[in-house]
């Protein structure tokens, strides 16, 4: 659209030095695991791009993914919301309400159809014809179908929008599902996590602005750069696992020395995410650094498949069926990746038999 402001002017307008902008672009290229020569392309693309319109839909949500966006440090949150994109619909923070809000969505659908980015937060209830979530008298399902099927790109942020999340956990009272299931046939990038980490989301947006396509995805349609590596392998406490140094009780001497939380139920050996390296809140910390185990919040259907959260992961394959967390020590290193199909099934069976969903099944493999 002719009215759209080209980015270089926008950059000057907000007093951003070229040096800082280049530094940001370099950081993004690093984060996305792209070869270094792409830095120039990112810089060029961001400068040449008109501000695309973004609409952010919230359904059965806690606004955790919205709050996470507000924690963006690079680029700074005000630039994300006002300058990088035209962030036009987002109920938690937009200026207008009621008719004024609905009118924005209608205008975007009419004027920018096929060109805007849709972001979805929260699960979508399907029971009872969708009455468990209505906005402006319309069901979440109805809105999701209409808005996402006319978007240039759709991103599901957080566990709930990806796979139904907590709302879908057994017994799933509202028939909640994630976006891909609610609106079959659309292409979705899933940014799991509870909530999503804004550092990853910013990188995905930059990638899209640069290449007009999404980064490489795994079988769950999650970007590989963020979800491809085991937490256990990136963990700052890994050496203590290898050395057999474990926290044995909350607040014990090991917990003060920063020893491994495996025996306290940490799911890091079975979870992938770049949480330990990107961390949270401008890279300040992550749960293990605060002394608590990982709950695998970026794993598929983690609420059912990874709970109970304080139960140590089951025995490690290759060390005999009876080797458990209690016995793991010196010499047991690595090799724990992907062991938890058994754990997931065990967790599912723990749930009461005969529940409406029969407990949570282990996640089915989706085609890539």
């Amino acid at each position: 659209m002719a009215l759209h402001e080209p980015l270089p002017e926008a950059l000057e307008g907000r007093g951003i030095s070229r040096r800082r902008f280049v530094r940001f672009c370099s950081a993004m290229v690093g984060m996305l695991a792209l070869p270094e020569h792409y830095v120039g392309q990112v810089i060029q693309a961001l400068q040449a791009t008109h501000k695309p319109v973004l609409v952010w839909l919230e359904f059965q949500d806690c606004a955790g993914n919205t709050e996470s966006i507000l924690r963006s440090a690079d680029p700074p949150v005000a630039e994300v919301l006002l300058d990088l994109l035209s962030w036009e619909y987002h109920e938690t923070i937009m200026a207008g309400a009621g008719r004024q809000a609905e009118a924005v969505l209608e205008r975007v659908m009419a004027q920018d159809t096929g060109q805007y980015i849709a972001v979805v937060e929260g699960s979508i209830p399907t029971a009872e014809g969708g009455v468990y979530c209505t906005i402006g008298g319309r069901t979440a399902l109805d809105i999701a179908r209409q808005v996402c099927s006319h978007a240039a790109a759709t991103i599901a942020v957080g566990a709930c929008a990806w796979d139904g999340g907590l709302v879908r956990a057994d017994p799933n009272p509202t028939g909640a599902v994630g976006l891909e299931e609610a609106v079959p046939g659309i292409k979705v990038v899933n940014l799991g996590g509870c909530p999503h980490n804004v550092a990853n989301t910013a990188a995905v947006l930059v990638h899209y602005l640069t290449f007009h396509e999404m980064p490489a995805l795994d079988q769950f349609h999650r970007p590989l750069f963020a979800y491809g590596q085991l937490i256990h392998d990136q963990c700052e406490r890994r050496a203590h696992y290898d050395a057999g140094e474990f926290v044995e009780a909350w607040g014990d001497a090991g917990s003060r020395k920063g020893w491994c939380l495996y025996k306290m139920g940490c799911k890091g050996p079975d979870a992938t995410y770049n949480c330990p390296t990107v961390r949270w809140n401008s890279g300040t910390s992550w749960p293990v650094k605060a002394g608590h185990g990982c709950i695998a919040c970026a794993s598929h259907r983690f609420w059912d498949t990874m709970s109970p959260f304080y139960k140590p992961l089951p025995s490690v394959p290759g060390f005999g069926v009876d080797v458990s967390a209690e016995e793991i020590g010196w010499g047991v290193v690595g090799g724990v990746a992907g062991l938890t199909a058994a754990h997931a099934i065990g967790s599912a069976l723990r749930r009461k038999a005969g529940g409406p969903e029969g407990g949570a099944a282990p996640p089915p493999e989706k085609p890539a």
Binding site: A63, E67, M94, A97, R99, R256, K257, W280, S285
Partner: protein, 571 residues
């Protein structure tokens, strides 16, 4: 006579719908409806009560941590667990920082645009804006050049016709009354507050691993072990320094930006001290223990109830007197919809009976909300910062009395002016200031404990479920930033049998009860003037003054053990 609808109500958490009857430019009746339901209390049943806090924290992330704290307190209450002093302090610091973060974000990002015309800033003289800012505060970002830069930024947004979040605003609405210089100053502070909140809440990253959705709570204490000599301890001298520094920066921001802005904006809208009057009775559970959790008399913010706008007497709180109606809520009670049920014996059978979507209006004569209607001793209560400040004021808390009297003197207003839309805003700001003053002290106490070798952070005596009785019941009360929060838990055979939350926004945004008594939002909207009913900005002013959080407000429990499964709910 016309019915107007505001749905979605934006700049809140969650899904809220307001329907209002308008006559001669004034609201004559109003209905508040929560339009989203998840059933989280059903989902936590049969699970390990020690992890309930991880689940219930996800009720809301704008109010992150508040449900985590209420949950661990409920389980600790059921199992009779006392937490170590360091855990109390870490919880107080986390809670106080949540208050400060939440209240700052509320004022600037959720509420300010009801009073500030962003486009008004374009007409401002940056030099006069600088004079205005310097007359109000010592905040250093106040030069003419600075405000000119902000103005240019707004001007570019407007010229590009891509206003992002500001696209849908009520710009030029006749109810806006700030001079352009105040508009420009407020827009500058809106942008500064976006960065402030991000930096400040790093306190939660240190004490909780991340924000939102902290991950350091434990039944029996916290996971943040402390040690003066261990560089890898979650809390060590270096991280204590960081906490103290960030807390100090919050005090500066609140003293020099938030408080002067609130007073300045309020000064241009004095009639809102007489609008938005609530039901007149106020509830506070009290918050921030300074001793054991049971020693409520030592809470930093006192517990109590005020009835019928009477500030001369603070009544005690008896949790047994809390009960909820579903007369106008989309649930059935087995004994009929005329009774109120206490949370410990609560019962919820979701039964949507509203119009099939898409719909234009709700049937407000019947059931019209996913929120229940909580009552205390059968009376409507307002909860939140205003309730807490009034209870503290009436209870004679010196610091609060001085602060409140100072604000009243500033506006030459009597205490009755506080029962209003602006009263809520002023109370929230005062409370923010009070906590910004005190958080530094709690961090100091924690540091002293660490330095003197007092390192206990968790009481593990009853960590193992084998140590628990066969069945136990408990409740955990807390004052969340938005008001009185309670979790009730029943544990049987080491698992959750029942779980129930009664949440601030349920008190404030709930529908009518069996007597037809309106909820606080519904009452407060009566008499609201509307300059342009097509653009009902004034409705947002009063609703936002409560700081709605709808994700928190909708909940479900069936105490009789009859889970309504998905198959049944689908019939």
């Amino acid at each position: 006579m016309a019915r107007i609808v505001v749905d979605p109500v934006t700049r809140i958490e969650g899904h809220l719908r307001i329907e209002a009857q308008v006559e001669n430019g004034k609201v004559t009746d109003a209905w508040s409806s929560g339009t989203m339901f998840r059933g989280i209390e059903l989902i936590v049943r049969h699970r390990d009560p020690r992890e309930a806090w991880l689940w219930t924290q996800r009720i809301c992330a704008v109010c992150t941590m508040v449900h985590a704290l209420a949950s661990v307190r409920a389980v600790e209450n059921a199992l009779d667990i006392e937490v170590p002093d360091n855990a109390r302090l870490v919880r107080n610091i986390i809670s106080a920082s949540q208050y400060i973060h939440d209240h700052v974000v509320h004022f600037y990002h959720l509420h300010a645009l009801d009073w500030v015309d962003v486009t008004g800033a374009l007409k401002a003289d940056p030099a006069k804006t600088s004079q205005l800012a310097q007359s109000l505060s010592e905040w250093p970002k106040s030069s003419t050049t600075y405000f000119r830069g902000v103005q240019q930024r707004v001007s570019r947004l407007v010229a590009s016709r891509q206003l992002s979040l500001f696209t849908s605003g009520y710009w030029g609405h006749p109810a806006y009354r700030l001079p352009p210089e105040a508009d420009l100053m407020a827009v500058a502070h809106y942008l500064e507050a976006l960065e402030f909140q991000r930096e400040f809440i790093r306190i939660h990253a240190v004490l909780g691993g991340k924000n939102p959705h902290l991950q350091s709570f434990l039944v029996g204490g916290m996971s943040t072990s402390l040690d003066p000599n261990e560089p890898q301890a979650p809390l060590n001298p270096e991280r204590m320094d960081f906490l103290a520094q960030v807390a100090q920066s919050a005090k500066t921001f609140v003293d020099q930006v938030l408080m002067p802005d609130v007073l300045a904006v309020a000064g241009f809208y004095p009639e809102w001290f007489a609008l938005g009057r609530g039901p007149g009775s106020y509830l506070s559970y009290g918050a921030f223990p300074q001793g054991g959790i049971r020693d409520t008399s030592l809470y930093f913010l006192p517990r109590g109830i005020l009835l019928h706008e009477d500030l001369s007497r603070v009544h005690p709180v008896d949790p047994e007197k809390i009960a909820e109606y579903v007369t106008h809520s989309w649930y059935d009670y087995r004994e009929g919809d005329q009774v109120a049920k206490p949370p410990a014996e609560g019962e919820t059978n979701p039964r949507y009976s509203g119009p099939r979507p898409p719909f234009a209006f709700l049937n407000v004569e019947e059931k019209y909300s996913w929120l229940k209607a909580p009552r205390y001793d059968d009376q409507v209560m307002e909860v939140g910062p205003l309730a807490r400040v009034l209870v503290a004021y009436a209870a004679g808390m010196t610091e609060m009395k001085t602060a409140v009297d100072g604000v009243l003197a500033h506006f030459k207003a009597p205490p009755a002016a506080l029962f209003s839309t602006l009263g809520r805003i002023a109370a929230r700001a005062l409370e923010t200031q009070l906590l910004a003053n005190h958080i530094v002290g709690w961090i100091g106490e924690l540091r002293n404990n660490m330095q003197s070798g007092k390192l206990a952070i968790h009481n593990g005596e009853k960590w193992e479920p084998a140590t628990w009785p066969a069945s136990a019941r408990g409740y955990g009360l807390f004052e969340a930033p938005r008001g009185s929060l309670g979790h009730w838990v029943e544990i049987e055979n080491q698992a959750i049998k029942n779980y129930q939350c009664v949440v601030p926004t349920t008190w404030n945004a709930g529908p009518r009860d069996v007597h037809g008594h309106r909820g606080p939002y519904e009452t407060a909207l009566l008499g609201t003037p509307l300059a342009d009913p097509e653009r009902p900005l004034e409705i947002l002013r009063t609703v936002h003054s409560f700081d709605p959080c709808l994700a928190c407000a909708v909940h479900v429990l069936d105490a009789q053990g009859q889970v309504r499964g998905r198959a049944e709910a689908r019939t």
